[in-house]
Amino acid sequence: MNDVVAARAEPVRPTLKPIRLIDEKGAPVKGAERAGFTLPSPEVLLGLYRRMVMARRFDVQVTALTRQGRLATYPSALGQEGCEIGAVSSLGENDWLFPTYRDSVALLTRGVPPVQILSSFRGEWHMGFDPYEHRISPQATPLATQALHAVGLATGAKLKGDEVVALTLLGDGATSEGDAHEAFNFASVWQAPVVFVVQNNGYAISVPFSKQSHARTLADHAIGYGMPGYFVDGNDVAAMYAVTSAAVQNARAGGGPTLIEGLTYRIESHTNSDDPTRYRSPHEVAQWRQRDPIARLETYLRASGALSDALFDEIAAAAEQLAAATRDAMNTEPVLDPLELFDHVYATERPALREQREYLARELAAAEPAPADVSSTESISTASGSIA
């Protein structure tokens, strides 16, 4: 026992300051803050830039559509593009992504069409894309639950001998759930090819990080699982990409899981229905707007000469096109078949469910213009008549 324990080498220890390759002013970082990571090539950085611009435009568009009532809800990732895009861009084609409700732009980056991403937020069905086509699991709502699915899938791939890595995104709040712990632990014990990316955006709805954790950094959790942990500036897409890519490569090479914390900020409200003025100051938001991940990379790329005005305009135009396509897509009301409620519950047919399906079919067939609304004021008066 004693020996078993002592024999385990200490894994990479998260740094106290977040790893950074490009600083908040857009200048390349030198020295210790890089923690040994190097700046990706200009081509890669331009690709990340393009993806972030597209993501931002998409996000802004969808938020606007949501305010217009075209979607039931939409959790924006505005301000988190560095974290989202940096992380998800590290994945290969055969790798899997396990996202949350917050990560629509990660799906966009991986090629899921807007109309399919937004299907669930429009309230049509619980999800709108084919997980196998895109190698993306449904966007999880129950917090931290998807992290275990990622570990399971990665382990399944490993058992089958496939070189597949699973990356899962988690919020800072989600790390408090028991499932996050179980996922970290199963992954490290099984040495599963998984990368955990915690997007610490400062809040879980209204609850600030200081009430969520007493840790120096959430990446410190890695130590307790004997896995490498990295604390990264989540608004530096270059750093997020570099660190996540290294973790993906390490996982693919059999090196097991990695925990990465990206420090970022949710600029928008939690969802359209949230009221952030109740729990944070405009000053704080303004400060974080200064640390915009896109502006930062743009400054760097322009300074380094990689981003010309022409390219800038081309990308901006592509983003506008995406926004227009997204608006158009939301203009088309999909035809929903109520009877589909019954069709996917079981693989094996059930007579009793068929009966219920037939019941609804009859009801729909019989449906005429809705009957007059009979307001039952009287009867509720009776109810309150019994009030002491």
């Binding site: 937020f121 309230g123 129950p142 028991g178 009801e363 009030i387």
Partner: protein, 368 residues
């Protein structure tokens, strides 16, 4: 008395839960109630109050009356909860009485159990119904069993508030009705109010109870208003209430379906059918007496709920009422419930939820 109209329920593609809460949160009733933490304040006034406002007032009064009451959970502090039921409590009572916990439901219930062992009366919130599931073990294996395990030495006066059921266009996991899980678990008391007066009165009673109480709040009715005087005390929470008298059939409903039952009764009256409506209020214990008396009178009954029919709470109602009233029944007890499928997406929930029309159609299947 004002009754919230249908539009206030949120159309299927309408605002999300918290959004609707926003629009309803600043209701005057709540604010008035907040201004009167001492029940014995002078000149009790008739106020207009929503269910959310009444719950807020009940929490406020309980916190003011009993220093052992504490309120914690996800976002119940400065935000006031996503439905604003805990609005302004943090500001009024401070961080040591009302606070935001880390985001972990098992942790919330587990620590509430420990606090209750030390003499506190925690009132905790599960943000949405399906998010109580991570706490299932703490609730069933400990909260429900501690008193029995310790031969009554350890009481756990914990109230778990759970916004439940659909009707507000919530995305997946935001519209579950899990009452059948809790009511099957010995040791738990499970109640659900359907109107503001009961919301206030039953929550006060739940907090005062030495038994753990699962307090189910019908979220589609949060903004349904009534006029009343605080502090209001309605019937004891273990008792069902006959909300409308009738001779031909008994509709048994609770929480969100009470409105459905009343609508159905009104529609049925137009067709010449005299319908009695019973609001169960308490799901565990079940008020055999009140329901039995009604069914003996009418000879027919139907139970209405949103949860899936199979193994739903309606099964217990149907089974036990049939056991006890078999020879008074002229027809089998009907269950008008959710289909045996997962709760659907916002744009499909209208097809899933039991409606007054569906209730009437069901009554028509009986041979009269």
């Amino acid at each position: 008395m004002t009754i919230v109209d249908r539009t206030a329920l949120g159309s299927p593609a309408g605002p999300t839960p918290a959004g609707s809460a926003d629009s309803g949160s600043a209701d005057s009733g709540s604010a008035d109630a907040s201004g009167a933490p001492h029940p014995a304040a002078p000149a009790p006034a008739l106020i207009s109050l929503s269910i959310a406002g009444a719950l807020n007032a009940a929490l406020r009064d309980a916190l003011a009356d009993d220093p052992s009451v504490v309120v914690f959970g996800e976002d119940v502090g400065p935000l006031g909860g996503v439905f604003r039921v805990t609005d302004a409590l943090h500001a009024t009572f401070g961080e040591s009485r009302v606070w935001d916990s880390p985001l972990a439901e098992s942790g919330i219930v587990g620590t509430a159990i420990g606090m209750a062992m030390y003499g506190l009366r925690p009132v905790i919130e599960m943000q949405f119904d399906a998010f109580s599931y991570p706490a299932f073990e703490q609730i069933t294996s400990h909260l429900a069993k501690m008193r029995n395990r310790t031969k009554g030495r350890v009481s756990l006066p914990v109230v778990i508030r759970i916004p439940y059921a659909g009707g507000i266009g919530g995305v997946e996991h935001h519209s579950d009705s899990s009452e059948a899980y809790w009511t099957h678990t010995p040791g738990l008391t499970v109640v659900t109010p359907s109107n503001p007066a009961d919301a206030y009165s039953m929550l006060r009673e739940a907090i005062a109870s030495d038994d753990p109480v699962i307090f189910l709040e019908p979220k589609s009715r949060y903004w349904a208003k009534d006029t009343l005087v605080l502090p209001v005390r309605t019937a004891p929470m273990a008792r069902a209430q006959v909300l409308r008298e009738g001779a031909d059939v008994t509709l048994i409903a609770y929480g969100p379906t009470v409105k459905t039952a009343l609508e159905a009764a009104a529609l049925a009256e137009l067709e010449g059918l005299s319908v009695e409506v019973v609001d169960l209020r308490s799901l565990s214990p079940f008020d055999d007496e009140t329901v039995g008396a009604s069914v003996q009178k009418t000879g027919r009954a139907a139970v209405i709920h949103e949860a899936a029919q199979f193994g739903g709470y309606g099964a217990e109602v149907a089974a036990r009422v049939t056991e006890r009233q078999f020879f008074h029944l002229q027809a089998p007890i009907l269950r008008i419930a959710g289909f045996d499928v997962p709760f659907p997406s916002p744009k499909q929930e209208e097809h899933y939820l039991p409606t007054a029309e569906r209730v009437l159609a069901a009554l028509d299947t009986w041979e009269w």
